[in-house]
């Protein structure tokens, strides 16, 4: 146990945290995929079982084994190289960054939920209001831009898709009210 804590502390203090976490997550992910292959990739029972080389499992095994090896090498690299030597990236995800992007992701999922419930136009209007408000557009000061944008843009998209592109976007609640 003491040895484990020693090794863990040693590993924790070496290399780039961002890279270590990324390598460990990837290693865990690919190992999960590898062990999922037998249950998730059925081999068709057509007479005699096909050799592995041309079965549906061959490529998944090749890719996951390759990815596991690469993830392991990435982990070794993250422990042996200095953080500045690791290329690319835009920095660790901080609280401020999470605070900035989380609302947009929440709006996206709420939009998905409302799309099915209220239809495209109403959900798009609500989504645009939320996004424009989040981006700091003042509806009181810039109502001349905001109101036409929020109402006309979804209507424009609806008609372009429906009349020009023949992609039916659900009108939802507006159809129920007899408006569309």
């Amino acid at each position: 146990m003491k040895l484990f804590i020693k090794v863990f502390s040693w590993l924790r203090n070496r290399g780039s945290t961002r890279e270590k976490v990324a390598a460990l997550v990837l290693l865990g992910f690919w190992l999960t995929v590898y062990f999922a292959i037998p249950s998730q990739v059925p081999v068709a029972a057509i007479g005699k079982e096909a050799p592995l080389a041309y079965s549906a499992r061959f490529f998944p095994y090749v890719i996951t084994i390759l990815a596991i090896i690469l993830s392991f090498v990435l982990l070794i690299q993250s422990l042996t190289r200095t953080p500045s030597a690791m290329e690319g990236g835009k920095g660790i995800l901080g609280v401020q960054q999470v605070r900035r992007i989380a609302p947009v992701i929440v709006i996206a999922f709420v939009y998905l939920f409302l799309f099915g419930l209220l239809g495209f136009i109403v959900s798009a209007i609500l989504c645009l209001i939320a996004l424009l408000g989040y981006y700091g557009l003042s509806f009181r000061k810039e109502w001349k831009v905001a109101i036409p944008l929020v109402i006309l843009f979804p209507l424009l998209i609806y008609y372009v898709f429906k009349l020009t592109l023949y992609v039916p976007l659900p009108a939802g609640i507006l159809r129920m009210l007899g408006l569309f």
């Binding site: 690319g88 799309f115 992609v167």
Partner: protein
């Protein structure tokens, strides 16, 4: 023969509607390309779904116009506000912005336009001449040869795309994994569906590319706190356009234009390289061939001409492997392939044999796009400059909304929209930790073709892998790929040793 084919293509494609769609594509592409934070790839990903139900002779030229406009548009912001609209215009900043600071913004913009037109025309001519010949050769390729070729292409993408080799290979593996979700190509049984009906059909390329390239970039931009205008009027260095650059003046710089066109076309045709490498290579090459190399970096018109010629020549070059082999030359063509597939046109040598009039029609469409670029560039620069002043608080919600709608349009399914959001989040984290995204998309596009050709080859050889080394074409590609891996690894190792040595 070529002329007959082009005339047949002309008959198929020429209509007022097609011309209007090409113009629209060029204008939209230029506007998107000009705005920093938005890219040609993003524009392509968002607008591909718009073409699903269009006539192929209108939808595909629209996308090609978008591609060309997006490639050119980034030079506008590179010159005016010292910020390239896209990565492929980064080299244009070196001389473009100093020219603007010296009161020669107009001259720089004009030179960029004419250089772009010449490079674009050269690349298109190369495509028209080379692609059919290459397709004739490729018709004789066996599945083993295609396997070797795609393997070589994937190694190119991973080795040459820049950044960490390891991360590029991991990103390619991820692309492979995504394409393996869904029905197996041979048996038809679902793979990695985890019992969910929605995953049984697999992922579509359109939500994947919209999420990875459009939504993820939006999240990166949001993270910066995008509440201010794109640029302030006071940042515009000089309102005066300075002396003009006439169209005929470009011919005085042929010693720069010709090598840059060749470099752009050739590098564009190599999978995974793309415009950013081509434009920097051309800029570096200009130091050898320019009339006044000592002025490069200080506001030389040759420093603007070289990268922009190469940048636009890449378009034609990148379409060569895409149309002939179904192997995208860069990430934009990877997304463009989604548009072709949606129209029922799977790029391959057989397409040249079975539907040549469509391909030649598209070649004519590319020439239409060159003309549209000329007209748009001559008349609409003020519009494009105005686009730079659109508030992010208005622009970005519109882009996000288009991402949702575009993803839904693929199969009228909210699952695709949900998938797009997930890919967007994944793309955001990938960018944060330095994983390149183009290999994911290219791995996704090529993974399926590689697997089917590999399995067919193994069936033909009854399970003997020696088929890949006994077939000369396949053996050559695999040998070249191995040499590339060894060469790139040694070069990277040497580079890191030199860096340590310098420290």
């Amino acid at each position: 023969m070529l002329l007959e084919q082009l005339l047949a293509g002309w008959d198929l494609i020429f209509s007022i509607q097609t011309i209007l769609f090409v113009f629209l594509g060029v204008i939209l592409g230029t506007v998107v390309g000009a705005i920093p934070g938005l890219t040609a790839t993003m524009a392509m990903a968002i607008f591909v779904p718009f073409t699903f139900f269009m006539n192929p002779m209108q939808g595909l030229p629209f996308l090609l116009g978008l591609y060309k406009g997006g490639t050119y548009g980034g030079s506008i912001s590179a010159i005016l506000i010292n910020t390239p609209g896209t990565a492929s215009n980064a080299a244009t900043v070196m001389d473009g912005y100093p020219m603007a600071q010296q009161g020669q913004a107009g001259r720089a913009l004009d030179a960029t336009l004419y250089a772009s037109l010449v490079g674009d025309f050269f690349g298109t001519c190369a495509l028209v001449v080379v692609a059919p010949q290459l397709a004739r050769i490729a018709l004789g390729f066996s599945p083993a040869d295609f396997t070797g070729l795609i393997f070589f292409s994937l190694i190119c993408v991973a080795c040459i795309s820049g950044g960490s080799l390891l991360k590029a290979w991991l990103a390619t593996c991820l692309g492979f994994l995504f394409v393996m979700v869904g029905p197996d190509l041979v048996t038809g049984q679902p793979r990695f569906s985890f019992g969910y009906f929605e995953l049984g059909g697999g992922f579509s390329i359109v939500p994947l590319t919209i999420g990875l390239f459009a939504l993820s970039n939006m999240l990166i931009e949001i993270e910066k706190g995008a509440k201010q205008m794109l640029y302030e009027q006071s940042q515009f260095p000089h309102h005066g356009r300075g002396g003009r650059f006439s169209p005929l003046e470009i011919f005085k710089y042929m010693r720069v234009v010709i090598p840059s066109s060749l470099q752009g076309t050739f590098l564009g045709a190599l999978p995974g390289i793309g415009a950013p490498v081509a434009c920097w290579t051309a800029y570096a090459g200009a130091h050898w061939v320019a009339k006044e190399p000592e002025k490069l970096g200080k506001g030389s018109v040759e420093g603007v001409i070289a990268p922009e010629t190469a940048n636009n020549a890449v378009v034609g070059g990148a379409l060569i492997p895409m149309l002939v082999f179904g192997i995208p030359g860069d990430v934009v063509t990877a997304v463009l392939m989604g548009g072709f597939i949606a129209q029922g046109l799977r790029p391959s040598p057989l397409l040249f044999q079975q539907q040549p009039e469509i391909l030649y029609g598209l070649f004519i469409g590319m020439y239409f796009a060159t003309i549209a670029l000329f007209v748009a560039g001559m008349t609409m620069i003020p519009l494009f400059v105005k686009a730079l002043r659109v508030k992010k608080s208005i622009l970005y919600p519109i882009v996000i909304m288009l991402c949702f709608v575009g993803s839904y349009a693929v199969q009228n399914s909210l699952v695709d929209v949900g998938g797009m959001v997930v890919f967007g989040i994944l793309g955001y984290f990938a960018l944060k930790i330095g994983f390149p995204l183009p290999p994911v998309a290219i791995g996704f596009v090529l993974g399926q073709i590689l697997e089917i050709n590999f399995r067919v080859s193994m069936m033909m050889s009854q399970g003997n892998p020696a088929i890949f080394v006994t077939e000369p074409v396949s053996a050559s590609f695999i040998g070249a790929a191995l040499l590339l891996i060894i060469g790139t690894s040694m070069w990277k190792l040497r580079k890191s040793k030199l860096r340590v040595g310098v420290k």
